[in-house]
């Protein structure tokens, strides 16, 4: 069936319609974006700890630079890394092969999605080089600040002057990216519903496929109003309408509502795909069936619906009606329950299992531990509206969302990388450097994010370029905390190079995988050759079992591939 000849570099990276190639293109583009976002983080963390120092590779950081760096760090990491890696890359690589089909339902649409994504990346990078400098209004882009020029006091003279600003470009970039992800989401949804292998009923799908699909649909339903809102903000910037101008009957709070109506479900859009990877990896490495498959699924759907009703907990002190805040506080606290159930089900999966502490499993356990113990539990502080009065917009919030996003997005992605690398390249990642990478990341992530909790409790507000002017923030030991955080962050960033080098080196020169199914996994992607051919399968598989039949009592070996009778 596989009659396709090998294509050259240009074809593979620019014109291929194969889902794996497109996934790889997404991945390289995102690696580029992450390097930029990571570099920004390095620069402003250095500036915070050593305010007078000329940061190596950047120079002296002014207030203007600082605002631009934190804003774009946030935007890149949230919009391009998290959404891109977990929806676009994971969806492209995994969905078709895990459901046992050759490609996406609409390969051309898939290609177009990637081109839109690339345009968005180009627009985003172009925005750094505008005449007035990069976008410096915070990644939440609250108007009226994002409508004007952040107080540089250089009034706009013409339409072109307004158009060629970072504000316009960032908004356009985000719009393009959303369109790209929407097209991708439609593609995933249709592919999953329509192209599953024979016998692959909905409840025989691996969790990863489920989660990416739920996330895509959730994304689609939450992003609509923000697209309309972004269109209105673009008009405000470029034409001079007054949608968010309080003096003309507009309302700055409207943007906050639109943004967080998207922004909070987005957190779950980001969280769900890693939960899917974790389900697959944990079940495989514990050699036990996933505990409560349907239960997890139901809880996820409940959480997805609830996530549309909690957005105003980002706005407790933003001037909304305090009585409304109470309602949102209740929903916010309630949403912790389904996630507690999911995490407990994962723990029940590893409970009394013969765990294999392989690299993906280490990342998975690290992810569950940090996400639950610190990321999840600190959410309770912020969900309780009263404490949020104090903690809102302090470093406490920064630490909290780094502890929720880093373990899921980064640890989850790494778990997936170390797990599926063997499949898509046919090579193995170097184990020793993999372990070094894991422990450095685990230790120094904590070293970076935990001091931020203490700083936040001491009253350190976010997004301040220079804390030296606040006496109460310069008392011992707060500057020390800042230095610990910075040094850890720098080591954390440097240790990611280990992975990058390991990744590309192993791809070229790594050890060939010993068998097609090195993890002895059940799911369909392991039942074809590694790397899979164009079209994925030599003969289309037929599915007889669920994806998590490990240690089935009737079987000799401890796993039971889905396509084995």
């Amino acid at each position: 069936m596989n009659t396709h000849k090998k294509h050259g570099f240009w074809h593979r990276f620019f014109f291929s319609l194969d889902h794996k190639d497109i996934g790889f293109q997404y991945m390289l583009t995102i690696f580029l974006m992450v390097s930029i976002g990571g570099f920004f983080a390095y620069v402003f963390r250095m500036h915070l700890a050593y305010p007078d120092m000329k940061v190596p590779l950047f120079g002296l950081v002014t207030n203007k630079d600082y605002n631009m760096l934190i804003t774009n760090h946030g935007l890149i990491m949230m919009m391009w890394l998290a959404l891109g890696m977990l929806l676009a890359v994971a969806g492209n690589f995994l969905i078709p092969i895990m459901i046992g089909t050759d490609d996406m339902a609409f390969p051309k649409l898939n290609k177009i999605s990637y081109w839109f994504f690339l345009i968005s990346v180009i627009l985003m990078i172009a925005s750094f080089f505008m005449k007035r400098g990069g976008f410096g209004g915070g990644w939440t882009m609250y108007p009226p600040l994002s409508v004007g020029d952040f107080g540089y006091n250089t009034p706009y003279k013409s339409f072109a002057d307004r158009f060629f600003t970072a504000n316009t470009f960032v908004l356009l970039a985000i719009t393009f990216e959303f369109i790209s992800l929407l097209m991708g989401g439609i593609n995933f949804f249709v592919t999953t519903l329509n192209k599953r292998a024979k016998g692959m009923t909905l409840t025989r799908m691996p969790m990863t496929v489920w989660m990416i699909n739920i996330a895509s649909v959730l994304f689609m339903f939450s992003v609509g109003p923000l697209i309309a809102g972004a269109f209105m903000l673009l008009l405000d910037i470029n034409v001079g309408t007054g949608f968010y101008d309080a003096y003309r009957g507009g309302d700055p709070l409207l943007w906050e509502h639109l943004f967080w109506f998207f922004g909070h479900p987005e957190v779950y859009v980001i969280l769900l795909p890693p939960l899917g990877f974790l389900a697959d990896i944990i079940s495989n490495n514990s050699r036990k069936p996933l505990y409560g498959y349907r239960f997890i699924l139901n809880l996820t759907l409940i959480a997805a619906i609830l996530s549309m009703m909690v957005w105003a907990h980002h706005q407790f002190v933003s001037g909304i009606d305090p009585r409304a805040a109470t309602i949102f506080s209740i929903f916010t606290i309630i949403i912790s329950l389904p996630f507690a159930g999911i995490i407990l089900a994962y723990i029940a999966t590893i409970w009394k299992g013969n765990l294999r502490l392989s690299l993906p499993m280490k990342w998975a356990l690290g992810s569950v531990t940090l996400f639950t113990l610190i990321g999840g539990f600190t959410g309770l502080y912020l969900g309780a509206a009263v404490f949020d009065i104090y903690a809102h917009n302090t470093s406490f919030v920064v630490a909290h969302f780094h502890y929720t996003l880093f373990p899921t997005v980064i640890f989850g992605s790494y778990a997936a990388f170390y797990y599926w690398f063997n499949k898509f390249t046919g090579k193995e990642l170097n184990k020793f450097w993999g372990n070094v990478h894991f422990w450095l990341t685990f230790i120094f992530f904590n070293g970076f994010a935990f001091p931020l909790f203490l700083l936040g409790l001491a009253g350190q507000q976010r997004r301040i370029a220079d804390y030296r002017q606040f006496e109460f923030l310069m008392q011992d030991p707060l500057p020390l905390y800042r230095k610990i955080a910075t040094i850890s962050a720098v080591i954390l960033i440097l240790s990611q190079f280990i992975f990058i080098i390991n990744f590309f080196w192993s791809m070229k020169k790594g050890k060939k995988v010993s068998s097609e199914n090195p993890w002895q996994s059940n799911t369909l992607e392991w039942q074809t050759s590694s790397p899979p051919p164009h079209g994925n399968f030599e003969t289309y598989p037929v599915v007889y079992h669920g994806p998590y039949e490990y240690n089935h009592p009737d079987r000799e070996k401890d796993f039971l591939p889905q396509n084995e009778k």
């Binding site: 439609i186 949804f189 329509n194 109003p225």
Partner: protein, 199 residues
Amino acid sequence: MNTSIKSWRNIPQARLAVWTLIAGEFVVFGGLIVMYILNRLKYESWGEMAQHTNVIAGTINTLVLLTSSYFVVKAHEAAIHKNKEKVKMWIWFTIICALLFLGIKSYEYTHEIMHGFTLPGKHLLAEGKHVETMYWSFYYTMTGLHGLHVIGGALALFFVMRHATKTGKDYHRLEAAGLYWHMVDIIWIFLFPLIYLIH
């Protein structure tokens, strides 16, 4: 690669995708309409502004779009029988309706801009009518965004029709494009009373 195995499920893929797209579009317009209604309830003076819209042109446009939906249904019927000539004819009728709609829309826009009701509303601002400019901002944003969808839908119909009539395959895509066209129509049915009729 064996392309004959497109799906084991036999759900028409294009239709499923377009339904998903329609759901997404409804959220976009839904957000916009909710914002408009909330503001409308807040500011009574918007009713006054709504009287400056051209209700007759709006009504004609509604009829034009409704007729075009009928043409799309006819085109779909012809597509089921793979009747090339009829498909061509009905789709062209639909596209003419779309152009007529856009023509009337631009006539309206010109008329309103000549009376000083522009998108940023500089004239109104000069008169000290701050809140009222927002009505026109919403008017242009909502109808403009809808207008873009009319153009998009018409283009989609055109290309799908050309592909189908040239190659004689993929007639089922006409149904998908037609579904999208109905959505454009329905959104207008929502916009028309909200913008033109409530004073």
